[in-house]
């Protein structure tokens, strides 16, 4: 009930902030080097293709593999979320340490924070990136304050989930 009202208000007034930090979702491929690098974020292009009318803002915080993120990087992400005027924040992030960053954000109050990434680069024809960003944008609007992870078609409590590297999938933990 209260939720229904809240969602309608969102549609009218809400801003969502999307912070990009790097990870597979934004990987490019450079043939000249036979290697890959993290490129400019695809978020804006994906949201335009999806004909998103909800007001949103995209800001790049970092451009790193998540295995290379330091404690200072996580502190920077948390501070950026805390300082933002938006109550609803999506963070695109590499999947390997996404749950670590979720822990680092656990102390923030009054914000609905959704961590999201991709198992295949968004620039691939077959990628989970667009679907996952759709999940994240819905969750940012509908979910209660807290830290959430949107991966593998599932909205996880961000503090009770781990990445199973062998299965290359996120799974809930008790």
């Amino acid at each position: 009930m209260a939720r229904v009202v809240a969602a309608k208000e969102n549609a009218a007034v809400s801003d969502v902030l999307i912070l990009t930090t790097g990870g597979t979702i934004d990987k490019l491929y450079f043939d000249a080097l036979s290697t890959y690098q993290i490129g400019e974020s695809v978020v804006d292009r994906v949201l335009r293709t999806a004909q998103v009318k909800l007001p949103y803002r995209v800001a790049e915080v970092l451009r790193k593999d998540s295995l290379e993120l330091t404690d200072d990087d996580r502190a920077l992400i948390a501070q950026t979320v805390a300082d933002a005027p938006e109550r609803r924040v999506i963070i695109t992030h590499g999947t390997d340490t996404m749950t670590h960053t979720a822990q680092a954000l656990a102390g923030l109050r009054g914000k609905t924070i959704v961590l999201v990434g991709a198992l295949a680069p968004a620039r691939f024809a077959e990628s989970d990136a667009t679907f996952n960003l759709g999940m994240a944008l819905a969750t940012a609007q509908v979910a209660a304050p807290g830290v959430w992870i949107a991966m593998n078609g599932t909205i996880f409590d961000g503090l009770r989930v781990r990445k199973d590297r062998a299965a290359n999938a996120f799974v809930a933990v008790d």
Copy 2:
């Protein structure tokens, strides 16, 4: 708080039912006829590409342009939702009369129902279909019981939204 617990449970146990009824999202193009028709639903392919691990079930109810849906068709959709064991139901639907069907589902209690479609066929390289299905699957997990519409990057109260045909976009109404 209660929501956080609920979501974790979903991840472990929930089933989502996805009913397909037709609409632009599933349009094919036939060159021999120089026409578009509604094909087999793309839902399953989209969810597999998105590496969805949440248990879900897809069932075709209809395969129609939404302008051709009759009162009997809407009664059939409502009955199918009511009879389903799943509490969380996504309905893919043409956009032109999506809000009419939302009204027809308003009486159902205890179900989180998400109507979703696309402004461009999912088979187009540039379509909102995959993003919208991601929004719908997240909303089905996170939102309170009621009828929701997931379009244009926004989760609308399904009873307080209209399609602005000139703008080709959904907008909230008071």
Copy 3:
């Protein structure tokens, strides 16, 4: 032998002219009308994605379903080819009457003309359009003067081919 030399020269000096006339290859889909129309040609975007370095020029002659092409339209296409400074000309064209236009171009001397289209719109994720344009650009460079049709993975003598509508494919005729 002579061919090898010729092709090397092409790479260095040749211009290819690409005339667009409409057809399925450039079909858009408009949900607001639940219909489709022929949009701006995708040719330039396809050639940029393919990282084409060969100098080429694109010009729109018509924007029609090929079933709607008149004798005057075909005369206009032929005159445009005849007047062009380029010896190598690609024509994107609807498939239903592509062979009629090939006949109308048969009298032109000293030009390598390649007719090409698509069975599914280029804007679809799964379309033959990009592949077919690749075939056409190669044929324009390598083939002898004459009229060619590049469809279904095959380079046909443009005067000895028909579209089998039941099979939705081009087949050679004796």
Copy 4:
């Protein structure tokens, strides 16, 4: 003239052999390893999407980055081409040493051989792979016997071309 006849015969009777050797065109991305590797060839999927009706055969010879190809590997490729019953052969190949392999094939007589690759993996939404394969299939049908390279929208004499790594493009040499 003779060419026109030849092409018609191709359409009716010709076989094209497609040998895959690896390279960027077939690169996959593995998130669990945060790396790219060469996967199963995409050639067959690309040709089916293009609705190719010309009889063809695909065979994997190697699955390597072209920088890792040895003299023995090139001898194996040449022997496979020489032994094949098909007169028309396409070889998918990494771009870095594609011209070396062209030299190794220069001695073969009576075969039209087309080397082709991609600057971006075929699995990317934006790749030159599909277009390049279209160029290769047309060239295999239309070009005279010899060794050809189909890249950057250009059909090069395979013995008079180099890859400009700084520009990430192939250019003709005198």
